[in-house]
Amino acid sequence: MTYPDEFLKGVPNDDKLDSDNIPTSDLFYFKESDNAPKRPDSKLEGSISWRDDLGADEILFNLKKDGTIQFQAGIAILCRRELDKVIQRPHVNDKLSYERDQKPENKYHGNLLLKSGTEKRIMKRIAATIATLCFKTFIKNPYI
């Protein structure tokens, strides 16, 4: 499986950004979803999009949930090479991975995956590490 250099994270609202438009860590938190079916490997999913081309940006900007644009604030652009470095950090180790997971509405869709049973404290630190190391820039949703 090949992956592009960059991936995207949709930002639902300004509450997920600080005053300089840098994402707060909770944008990358992993949590059990009540309605999502459990994966066979029990890993927790955090949705991302692989930026194979600029079409990935357009899809995220226009993605709708319950009839309204889901990522009202915009999208964060992140670096996959840095993500690979995060995965190699001692406190992360084998707990974090990623995959492609195409959806009918988003062919670029993928997931960050967290090993099940990871302590909440470690999960939060991993999220902070992703936000600090991988974040490159933020693009405001031009359709809002």
Partner: protein, 185 residues
């Protein structure tokens, strides 16, 4: 010139109602001397209203150093009361540290406010975000689960530290983190 450079109530345990206009206001450049700080710290002490509720009280540090200006103490009807109590304690200690270490605080080239965010899991996330690093505190419903972290990118040698948050002994940790932040901001 005879003026009080602060609204009263700059003690670590001191909160003043924002809507109360009876106090003397301060100018942005009026950084107090250590002697002045000491005087005001010992002179004014407001901890809560008659009901013991501190939630409507806000910080009153000078704007220049008030990194706690966005502090959110939570809402009684909505948020976990234990977490609210711990958050108030955290803010109180942090205030004291800012005042006692204004030499460190004044050395910052850029001083961004801390972000406070109440999350679905009843915890509060307090983050101090800089270009190359971030410091975070997660205050949890079970006090022993509360934690902190410091992570930086490659520009600062990819520091990664974390630990449990001992609410009874916050000061050494916060002073160290403040020192790191001022040296690298």
């Amino acid at each position: 010139m005879n003026h009080i450079p602060y609204k009263i109530g700059i003690n670590a345990n001191c909160f003043v109602r924002e809507e109360d206009q009876t106090y003397t206001t301060y100018g942005q450049t009026q950084i107090p001397s250590a002697h002045e700080l000491e005087k005001y710290e010992t002179s004014f002490f407001i901890t809560s209203d008659a009901s013991g509720n501190t939630s409507p009280y806000l910080r009153t540090l000078p704007h220049d150093i008030d990194i706690l200006r966005n502090a959110d103490l939570g809402t009684n009807e909505v948020n976990n009361k234990d977490v609210m109590r711990q958050t108030q304690k955290f803010i109180s200690v942090f205030q004291r540290i800012l005042l006692n270490n204004h030499n460190i605080v004044n050395s910052f080239s850029y001083l961004s406010p801390l972000n406070f965010k109440w999350l679905e899991d009843d915890s509060v996330l307090i983050e101090w975000i800089f270009k190359d690093f971030r410091i975070g505190f997660s205050i949890e419903p079970v006090e022993q689960d509360s934690s902190w972290y410091l992570v930086s990118n490659q520009n600062l040698e990819e520091v990664s530290k974390s630990g449990l948050l001992d609410m009874e002994d916050l000061e050494p940790l916060l002073v160290n983190l403040l020192d790191f932040a001022s040296s690298n901001s």
